[in-house]
């Protein structure tokens, strides 16, 4: 059974602090994310985005990015320039045009 192309939301994604090395050595990406989690009615949230990025955009060493359904400890996430800890972390419901930044703190100082 084929389904019609699901509606998507357009997100600006940025990787830095060394994380860009895992994503084709590219800092900025535009991602069209399905607006609901496949096979469910759950709206796309930050947790889904992390798994989506791991499966669709990441090129190497997934264990340095994702762990237990969220980002590996030591990776900071900003949603529209705000610490995602103030936005509900993985439960934040994404909107069209959101800018999500992932910064690794694990690389040398």
């Amino acid at each position: 059974m084929s389904s019609p192309t699901p509606p998507t939301i357009r997100l600006q994604i940025e990787f830095s602090g060394g994380l860009e090395l895992l994503f084709s050595h590219t800092r900025k990406h535009t991602v069209n994310l399905p607006s609901t989690v496949p096979n469910s009615t759950r709206p796309a949230d930050a947790s889904y985005l992390i798994l989506y990025l791991r499966d669709n955009l990441l090129k190497e060493r997934p264990e340095l990015f994702e762990e237990k359904g969220t980002v590996k400890p030591g990776i900071l996430v900003l949603i529209n320039d705000t610490d995602w800890e103030l936005e509900g972390e993985g439960e934040y419901e994404l909107k069209d045009g959101d800018e999500i930044v992932f910064i690794s703190t694990l690389h040398g100082g």
């Binding site: 060394g18 900003l78 320039d81 703190t105 040398g108 100082g109």
Partner: protein, 356 residues
């Protein structure tokens, strides 16, 4: 989620949750509290005196880049009257240090501070690339660590500075506390949390970011759009530190105060006198004049091993004996230039002003 307002100014929108306190604060309040806490660390430990010449150990990475920015800001805001310099060590690692040095050179322009770069090549006659080519990837971090420590002191001496500040943050210190506990290294455990260290005739070193969380340093760099370089050293899989770091980050995720708690625990360990007594007395190296606990300093021993094609000589006692059995060092052996500590004009010792 409705935007929350800042817990400090009650006006602007909160943009960051502080790991130390859980407070939700806005960008401007964050800059202010972060800088003020570093200022408090500096004043409580009386790190500087007016007129001090201070070198910032600059790697181009996040910590030292933020440190340079904050030191410049505080020096102006609180009139510390410090002369600030950037000091970088070029280990000679292609594709790693050459890129990060470009960042340091941009920092020099942005912060308007004199920059001194000292390379392993000019000091020891060897780059890390050449060392790894000869010895492989075992023990290369030992060479790099010993060479860097001496190079920083010598670079500081060339600049005529009294003091080196480094970007070590609370996470780094907590990590070191854990590693020293796990290794049973009690002597180091007692020392690793001190904010200032000073050997016999080496330059004072201190850590103004001792209580600053890595998360906040990275957020500060991000919000200020500071220019830094981030990649792992291509030769350094320090597996042990890597595990300690991953463990610490897991702890932090469960309880953000864990990092500062571990730093405080480390501070609470006092080294008993018997343990201290086993640390060797300091003298100066016969060959290069640098401080040493033996007749030859660690760098000279390592360098002799490299030059004579027996790189293990500086690592294990057995290899050292094998080297000695081959006879004394040849006359024409390449050595490190002799270290002559300079006394600086107007250094802290000659001023009577109170410490900041």
């Amino acid at each position: 989620m409705a935007p929350k307002s800042c817990a400090l100014c009650k006006k602007a929108r909160a943009m960051l949750k502080r790991p130390k306190t859980g407070q939700q604060i806005c960008r401007d309040c964050f800059f202010f509290v972060f800088e003020t806490e570093v200022h408090n660390t500096i004043t409580e430990a009386k790190l500087f005196s007016p007129g001090d010449r201070v070198a910032i150990g600059a790697s181009g990475g996040k910590d030292s880049t933020v440190l340079a920015h904050v030191m410049k800001t505080l020096n102006e805001r609180y009139n510390y009257r410090l002369e600030l310099f950037l000091l970088s060590i070029d280990e000679g690692i292609t594709g790693y240090r050459d890129d990060s040095l470009e960042t340091v050179k941009r920092n020099q322009q942005q912060y308007d501070m004199p920059l001194k770069i000292l390379s392993y090549d000019e000091l020891y006659g060897w780059t890390m690339d050449a060392i790894v080519e000869q010895i492989g990837r075992k023990n290369n971090c030992t060479f790099c660590g010993v060479f860097r420590r001496q190079a920083l002191d010598r670079g500081a001496n060339m600049l005529g500075v009294d003091h080196i500040v480094t970007g070590h943050n609370a996470d780094d210190i907590a990590e070191t506390v854990l590693m020293n506990i796990m290794r049973g290294d009690i002597a180091r455990l007692g020392r690793c949390t001190s904010i200032v260290t000073q050997g016999e005739d080496t330059i004072r070193r201190s850590k103004p970011f001792k209580y600053a969380y890595e998360k906040e340093i990275v957020m500060y760099a991000y919000f200020k759009k500071l220019d830094y370089f981030s990649t792992e050293c291509i030769y350094s899989p320090d597996a042990y530190r890597g595990h300690a770091r991953a463990f610490l980050k897991d702890l932090e995720a469960a309880r953000p105060s864990a990092i500062i708690d571990i730093v405080h625990s480390g501070e609470a360990f006092e080294v008993r006198e018997e343990v201290k007594a086993t640390q060797k007395l300091q003298q100066t190296c016969q060959r290069c004049g640098y401080m040493s606990s033996n007749t030859l300093c660690k760098a000279c021993t390592l360098l002799e091993g490299l030059e004579r094609g027996m790189a293990d000589a500086g690592i294990t006692d057995r290899a050292r004996k094998r080297l000695e059995a081959e006879g004394p060092a040849p006359e024409n052996l390449r050595t490190i230039p002799f270290f002559r500590p300079t006394t600086t004009p107007g250094s802290a010792a000659s001023t009577v002003e109170v410490a900041i």
